[in-house]
Structure formats: C-alpha cells, structure tokens
Assembly symmetry: C2
Homo-oligomer: 220 residues x 2
C-alpha cells in the first residue's frame, strides 16, 4: 500500500513541475541540492553579489525552520522568498508555485531554488527546474558521490565547495570526481570556495552559457 501512495505524490508533483516549467520560460531555473552546511547560501550570496550588474536574479529559499537564509540572500539586494516546510525534508512543485506568487518574475534571467539541506529526498522531486546542481563540500568526505548516487547522477553540474579547507582535511578531489563521473560521464565539476572566491569564475561562465542556452533554445 505504501508504494502506490508515494507514486501518487510524485505524480502530482510532476504535473505541477510542468506548470512551474511553463512559468519559467526564458528564465534559467536551478535547483541547488546539498547536505546541510555544504555552503549553498554562501555560494548564492557571492554569486548574486558578483553577477548583480550582469543578470536579474531571484531566489526561493527552502528550510524546515527560520527565514535566516532568505534574509542573508535579500541582503545582497536580490529578490528572495522563503518557503518554510515546517519540518518537511524537501521542496515540492506546489511550494515553488506558491513562492513564485511573491516574486516579480518579469525580466528575470536566473531563478535559484535553494532546496532543504538533505542529500536524499530533494533529489526525487522535480521542481520544474532546468538543472539540479549538486553541491558537495570537501569537509564531507570524498566518498559522498558514491554513497548518494542519485543526486550526482541527475545533476547537470557539481560544485565542490570549501576547497580552501583542503589542506586540513582528508579529501581526494580526484577520487570524488571519479565517483561522480562514473555516474554522470561529462559532469562539469567546479572546485570553488564561496568564502575566498577561489574558482568562482568557471562557475560564472557555466551560468552565462546556461542563461544563453535557456533564452535561445528553451533548455540547457
């Protein structure tokens, strides 16, 4: 009895994901997924600041509790809306549709959706995005792509964050990258530090190309 119900929930979500996808026509929409504390919000803060003069961006923030992250993001001057899942472990398309009602969607170039910090459940829910971005921090261990394969299989880019901490932790970048690319052959992997700014330019170039592709072809 459990499986059919789960399937219904996913089917209902997928129908609404198509509605989201229609509404973000021409707007690059990225679903950021990681463990708690991998640095999604810090990555957004720096990206929104550095690209402020280049793109019109908005953020939908998902959290179990608190609107801390939406306030951090809004402090960059960017539109931000918080979804409080009230303990729920992932965002779904219905929540995203409701959050979009609070955003001025006209003329946006990029919509970032920061999912709940969780490497498992958010991956299973399509939010109508153009791409999932899997974020892993080097403090979490290089085995994580192997242990949480679905995310790294479905992502269109992987960000390896906190590389400024590499000297202090046991983390083999080559090993993590190999696991990820075994799941996802041509996965672009960006080694960055959202704190120091190291490596962000390659990520920004990926974003520029993705914005262009979305506007010109309607998809990545």
């Amino acid at each position: 009895m459990e499986i059919p119900v789960v399937r219904n929930v996913l089917e209902a979500n997928d129908k609404l994901a198509m509605v989201v996808h229609e509404r973000v026509r021409g707007i690059l929409t990225l679903n950021l997924i990681s463990s708690p504390g991998a640095g999604k919000t810090s990555l957004l803060e720096r990206t929104l600041t550095d690209l402020a003069s280049e793109f019109r961006m908005a953020v939908i923030e998902g959290d179990l509790q608190t609107d801390n992250d939406a306030r951090r993001v809004a402090a960059t001057g960017c539109q931000a809306v918080q979804i409080d899942t009230d303990g729920g472990c992932h965002l779904d398309s219905n929540m995203v549709l409701k959050a979009m009602e609070h955003l001025d969607m006209s003329n946006l170039d990029i919509l970032f959706i920061e999912n709940v910090g969780n490497l498992v459940c958010p991956t299973e829910f399509d939010l109508g995005e153009d791409a999932k971005i899997g974020i892993l921090s080097v403090t979490e261990g290089d085995d994580k792509p192997e242990k949480y394969p679905l995310l790294f299989n479905l992502s269109k880019a992987m960000i390896l964050n906190k590389v400024d901490l590499l000297p202090y932790v046991r983390f083999d970048v080559e090993r993590a990258s190999q696991f990820a690319r075994r799941l996802n052959k041509d996965l672009p992997i960006f080694q960055v530090s959202a704190t120091s700014g190291e490596g962000m330019d390659a990520w920004y170039d990926w974003l520029r190309n993705a914005v262009r592709a979305k506007k010109e072809k309607g998809s990545l």
Copy 2:
C-alpha cells in the same frame, strides 16, 4: 490522504520499535544521526578502538548504497552489519530487527546504530534506541541546531565534531550550544575531534555512565 498514510507508517514503525527495545534489554542502544559527512563513522572507529577492552560493542550501519562504512567499522574488530536502504532516506525498526538477526547479541554492552546521513527524516523514526545522539560538525555552520530543531530537541547528547577545524571556519561554539540548549535545556555537548582524538574522554565517560544506567535501571 497523505497524512493518514504517513501516520500508519509511523505507527507500524513504533510497534516494531517496541520489539527492538525488548531485544536490547541490558544493552545500551544508541541511534547516531547527522548530516552526510559529519563524521559518524570516524567517531565510531575511534570509540570502538579506544573502548575495545572495556565493552563488547556491535554496530548496525545504515546507508543508501555501499557497505564501505560497515567494512571500516569491522576493521576495528567489532561486529558490524550493513543495512542498504536502496535509496531510502532513513532507517526504520523493521530494518533494524532484520539486521539484529545477523549479530550475536549475547553479552553485548553497547549497540550503535549509525543512521543514514540526513538531519531530517531519521529523527522521526524511533528505532527502539535508548538515546538519539545528534552529531554536528563545525564545518556545517553554527545555525544548524536552530534550522534542524527536532533532532537537537530529541537527542540525549550532542557531539560537536571536527573541532580541530575551528581555526579555519566561521563557527561560534557558544552560539550553536545556545541554540541547542534552548531546545533541550540540559543537553550534554561534547566538543571532539574524531580525527585527532581531542575531547573524546568526556564522551567515553558519558558512555560509561549510560551503560551502567541501562544495566541497572533499564534506561538512561
């Protein structure tokens, strides 16, 4: 329709949790919960090694994929059994009961259950344990007890791991502790590094007292 089904799943789990609880009479049973990569397995490796001559211990390892962690734990000489959740985001009591069939439970002092790396879903499932132990690493940010309150509310001890990295990250131990104790007034908080061994003695003293309480009173 969704809510009643979820409730049924939890009720079925809770009944089996009582069965688990009966079977671990006299055995301190701890459910370790954290984000992916917070260091649960490293903490276990060191604990199992340091207390090998003092206690008879066994480990049930939960993961979405791979038996890497069970192999790491077994390398300490301890009994270990792996539960592969096949993508599932938490352990439930039925999985634990099945795993226990593969363990020699006679004369055990401590049974550790290492849950799936996830700060959300595992917290909602009682596994018949005596205590949940919430593990947070300092690289994840000091806001996590506030953002994931249920775990820190329900835990009987909190381990703050990777304190050897404190000089390199922005993490206010006082702030994290205050958030946690606002949820859980007398929560013991152990600042440790499973890598360097720093601070582990206080955690071992807590374990010694808990083993004694379980044997003498049947609970903590």
